[in-house]
Point group: C2
């Protein structure tokens, strides 16, 4: 079955099956999800199939006059936002599970869901399976650095990791940066609390040693929290606990800066005019940094493309997540990860 | 000896010995340190003793016409910024070690240093010793929340911790918030990756259980990275690895927001005027968030007050760090920590 899906992945650019969009995941499901699907189809030309309860989705599509444009695949069950990993086991016919099955069967090229992250990670592992050799899938987020984004992973799939997994995260992130961002030989850095090799906890010290020796990884050394947004690395590797805290801290800090600024300049009309312009800019910035909202986070290491849209996604974010899913599947991120991970078992063959 | 220093600590408000300022620690030592001392003495009325090579310091003081105002205690050696813990062992007569000795002998009320954090932690542990019962000292940073600051600890003293230490960090932080910020029954939260009790890695799950059961701690539950600057807690407990990454990520994110904004509005003079005002505000904000610069970080759990000024501190930051040191020693943060930690050995006595 695995070989089957991989082979399909390779054929993808020719046939371009639709994106399987979990219509029932997210705080604003199904209406904003359906609206996002309509936007993705009409404005971006992305083929979409909506997965969820047909009657509800048909009505929602009719509101957009789009019932004939977007096919529906039936799934009567859903996983609520406050449900975690266990719900994935209990509901094998949830909209999310069915979306994963479509990818597994080759009827869809990628899954997009704004559902609970824990449910997506568990359902993805269960229904799509890992790529051969991958120890653990990881959540990758593209931070808005310039000129190209920086991939941070793991952003929260694995609270507890082993040093060997962090080397694999480096491969997953490198494949992402190579394919999605077109970066040759991406620079990989390790997030810790000092730039010297001996700085950090046991986990990162060991991961540092392994990364130095890892073939196929362009390891440039340790970085600290300051460097997440400076573009000094193309891929930043960390464990899912630290990565999640760092990502949310970043969002919180930008939101704080925004709120502080909003209260500030308001004593003259001239100043206010300038302030308004700045504020729009800062809001745009806050949105760019707003966790998985910028296109979405990606669950890497599974036998299929999975994009995790922010739980609070409205139509534009859903549409952007579909765009990201298309990009990743067209550019072959999943097969590239497969090659990289396979190569680590026979390091002298490919490098 | 310990009892001796503690007893002195209790007498502090009456006698007010000077602050022992490590004149040779920091990127801009000794000139900015001396300038900061002069500022602290003249503008804030803080008694200071400078510790370092007398000839050099005398000359620097003379530049400010302050040679008669500020006494010097001799220490011919110094620990460079790029030296770590080992240098503390090798140089028992460094300016930092001598400053600690002054506090230990009761000749100074607190140490202030802008030297390397690793050297300050090691020298402090070696020369001042821990308070009885304290497992590990921790670095506490006061985040600029309103109306009162939020104490984040450990911000980097311990990369590897045990759950029991995190309960002690809660006591250290509570004592800090009670004494320095005047908060009664400070709310203590645990930094992790989900608000539910079962979220996080093994360390925080166990720390959560211990904090729920800890007498004398008002534990309000888990928080995530978003919440560091929202003021939902008075004390935020974390391990030194995560805390350091979070603190530096916060600084980096604000610096990023600032840089982005600087590039933005510049197309009309009106807008530029507003932008300038905003920019000043954002710069002030960036400085407020600039790591230990806002008054400095504090090394808690030792038998004496130790303030760690930012390595890049210039005169105003040095002066602010001296102010913080005076506040902590006058308000009895160290004895309060001693009471709290002692009480955990006989929980039915004080609570």
């Amino acid at each position: 079955m695995r070989e089957d899906v991989l082979a399909r992945g390779d054929r993808l650019p020719d046939s371009d099956p639709p994106i399987a969009l979990d219509a029932m995941g997210g705080d604003h499901a199904p209406h904003e999800i359906v609206a996002g699907a309509v936007h993705a189809v009409r404005e971006r030309g992305i083929p979409i199939v909506l997965v969820g309860p047909p009657r509800v989705l048909y009505e929602a599509l009719t509101d957009h006059d789009a019932a004939k444009e977007i096919p529906i695949v039936r799934a009567e069950e859903a996983i609520a936002m406050d449900e975690g990993a266990l719900a994935s086991l209990r509901r094998p016919r949830s909209s999310l599970a069915v979306a994963c099955h479509l990818v597994r069967r080759g009827d869809a090229s990628a899954v997009v869901s704004a559902g609970s992250t824990a449910a997506i990670v568990t359902t993805g592992r269960l229904r799509l399976k890992g790529l051969p050799g991958v120890l653990r899938p990881a959540i990758a987020v593209a931070l808005p650095t310039l000129p190209t984004p920086t991939v941070l992973l793991d952003a929260g799939a694995n609270a507890e990791v082993k040093p060997e997994m962090m080397v694999q995260f480096a491969h997953l992130g490198t494949a992402y940066a190579e394919t999605a961002h077109g970066i040759e030989a991406p620079r990989v850095a390790l997030l810790t609390i000092g730039s010297e090799a001996e700085k950090g906890n046991k986990l990162v010290k060991r991961a540092h040693e392994l990364l130095v020796a890892a073939p196929g990884i362009r390891f440039t050394g340790n970085i600290e929290g300051h460097d997440l947004l400076t573009g000094v690395a193309d891929v930043i590797v960390t464990d899912g606990f630290t990565g999640n805290v760092a990502l949310k801290t970043m969002e919180g800090a930008v939101r704080y800066a925004f709120a502080e600024l909003k209260d500030s300049v308001s004593d003259s009309r001239l100043a206010r005019f300038g302030a308004l312009m700045q504020r729009a800019r800062l809001r745009e910035l806050a949105q760019r940094l707003d966790s998985e909202a910028y296109g979405g986070a990606v669950l890497l290491g599974l036998n299929g493309t999975v994009v995790i849209a922010h739980g609070a996604s409205k139509a534009p974010a859903v549409s952007a997540a579909c765009e990201l899913a298309v990009t990743l599947s067209r550019r072959g991120t999943v097969p590239r990860i497969g090659e990289r991970v396979a190569s680590t078992h026979r390091p002298h063959r490919l490098w």
